[in-house]
């Protein structure tokens, strides 16, 4: 007897408003489309990039959790979403730059229906938005894929992590899983129109727990620092 009438969070939104909403929930048609897209991306990454995943055992058995990684290419989010399996793959939302992926109705439809992305607006995403995302992450048992650098690295070198991620996890039970993707910058750097084939290697580290971290500015800085250290620790050693 655990059934409850729980309307979709986006029930009374127009189809266009729904695309850009943080309340968007995936229904049957979305599931079918995203499943097809995910299978296509998996096949592409296997064929053209021979994507290798190391440390899969570090992924929590069930959502919710947050996947973070270094960011230097559009291949990053595709690889992270494609390597997930089972319910986690169906509940994964990529937090994507609104001013890149949600500028028109067409691009928003693609970001929403295929990639299952939620828009994050640089400098415009409010504390209320972040709280809403944090609440959904836990209540709906989701997986968030996000890149705390905030933008793609133009040089391929990892930049500083911004403290925004702290607002999602500090003081909560949701773990953060650090990942490092190698080869994405060489295959598809920012500024290049289409990717070229090349090997990708994804290392997944043990989850980080922030339940004891304070949910304030100092705590968020600490979250960002620990996340950055954990991702950096997964990066391949610099050549001598």
């Amino acid at each position: 007897m655990e059934w409850q009438f729980r309307p979709a969070r986006d029930t009374e939104m127009s189809p266009v408003a729904r695309l850009r909403s943080h309340a968007r929930e995936v229904g049957l048609s979305g599931l079918v489309m995203q499943g097809a897209w995910r299978r296509g991306v998996r096949a592409y990454l296997r064929l053209f990039h021979r994507l290798e995943v190391v440390g899969r055992e570090n992924l929590p058995a069930t959502p919710p959790y947050v996947l973070i990684a270094n960011h230097s290419s559009h291949l990053d989010a595709l690889s992270l979403a494609a390597m997930l399996r089972g319910p986690a793959s169906r509940r994964a939302f990529a937090l994507a730059a609104g001013d890149t992926f949600f500028t028109s109705v067409g691009s928003s439809a693609f970001a929403a229906w295929a990639v299952n992305a939620l828009p994050v607006w640089r400098r415009r995403t409010s504390a209320k938005d972040l709280n809403g995302l944090r609440q959904r992450l836990a209540e709906d048992e989701l997986v968030f894929i996000l890149f705390p650098e905030g933008t793609r690295s133009r040089s391929g070198a990892m930049g500083r992590f911004l403290p925004g991620i702290g607002a999602l996890v500090a003081g909560g039970a949701v773990p953060v899983v650090p990942c490092y993707l190698e080869g994405a910058h060489a295959a598809w750097p920012a500024g290049r129109r289409w990717p070229r084939p090349g090997p990708l290697r994804l290392r997944i580290g043990p989850p980080l727990d922030f339940s004891a971290t304070s949910d304030d500015k100092a705590g968020w800085m600490e979250v960002a620092r620990r996340c950055e250290d954990a991702v950096r620790a997964l990066s391949p050693p610099a050549p001598p």
């Binding site: 007897m1 009438f5 979709a8 049957l28």
Partner: protein, 327 residues
Amino acid sequence: MSTAFAHPVTQGIVLATGAVLLLAALAIGAMTLLGRGTPAFRRELWLRYGSWLVLLPLMFGPVLLGRVWTIGAVTLLGLLCLGEFARATGLFREYLTTAVVALGIVAVGFAALDNWYRLFVALWPLTTVVILVATIPLDRPAGYIQRNALAIFAFMLLGVGLGHLGYMANDPGYRPLVLMLLAAVALNDVAAFTFGKLLGARLFGGRKLVPNTSPNKTVAGALGALCTTTALVAYLGSLIFAGTPMAHPALLLFLGVLVSVAGQCGDLMLSSIKRDIGIKDMGAALPGHGGIMDRFNSLLLVAPAVFHLINYVVGIGEGQPTRLITG
């Protein structure tokens, strides 16, 4: 084209609808020019009007184009309504169950397209069986009764109920009948609203119909709609069914009452669903109207009721070739 508009009732309904649209545009245009009503109210009127301009061709077009179009459009309507119903109730989180209901709606559409009445009828219990069995292997009994009851409810309304509207297209004379039903349920809503506004406070002591379900509906509005719709349906029915046993005045009056009562009940049924869940509209696909199901709620109960009355008295699609696809 000559077949589509062969019946005078078809011509009459299409012409009358065009005239009403024109008059409405003139009336709202005059309000805008003269500055009558608040800007927000005028904007709401134009929004509703714009939705009708898109909606009416989508409703009348397939009916005029032919049998396959009509059945296809009704099946699509059922699937769109299922999407709204599933999201509003939370059933959409049960992907497998929702998929079985969607397949059931498509299967009913196929039976109609095939003009295979036995399959059409057999699919009602058979889809119910599949809904009940599909999630057993998941070994997750929690919520079994609630989610499957919701799924059967959705299938009965949107697969079976609406499916009857599509099945009517297997009768060569379906166009005036289906157009009359579309026009009559719309008129039923308008008449209830108008009589309610004009006389609702004065007649029957301003008694509300079912205030907990729908606080704005009055007894006067419901009776006004009953009289208006019954008169229209009985008149148009006398033209559509001339020379058949259905042309008996008592049967025509009964048909009219059936359309009005089933239409109003469909409206109140959706109000009950929405009250129970705690939402205002089933969606926001149609600006000014709410969701698709909010617009088509009356048809859900009208279609099966009217189908079986006519099928009992004169038959629907009698003598037409059956099993067109399956042979």
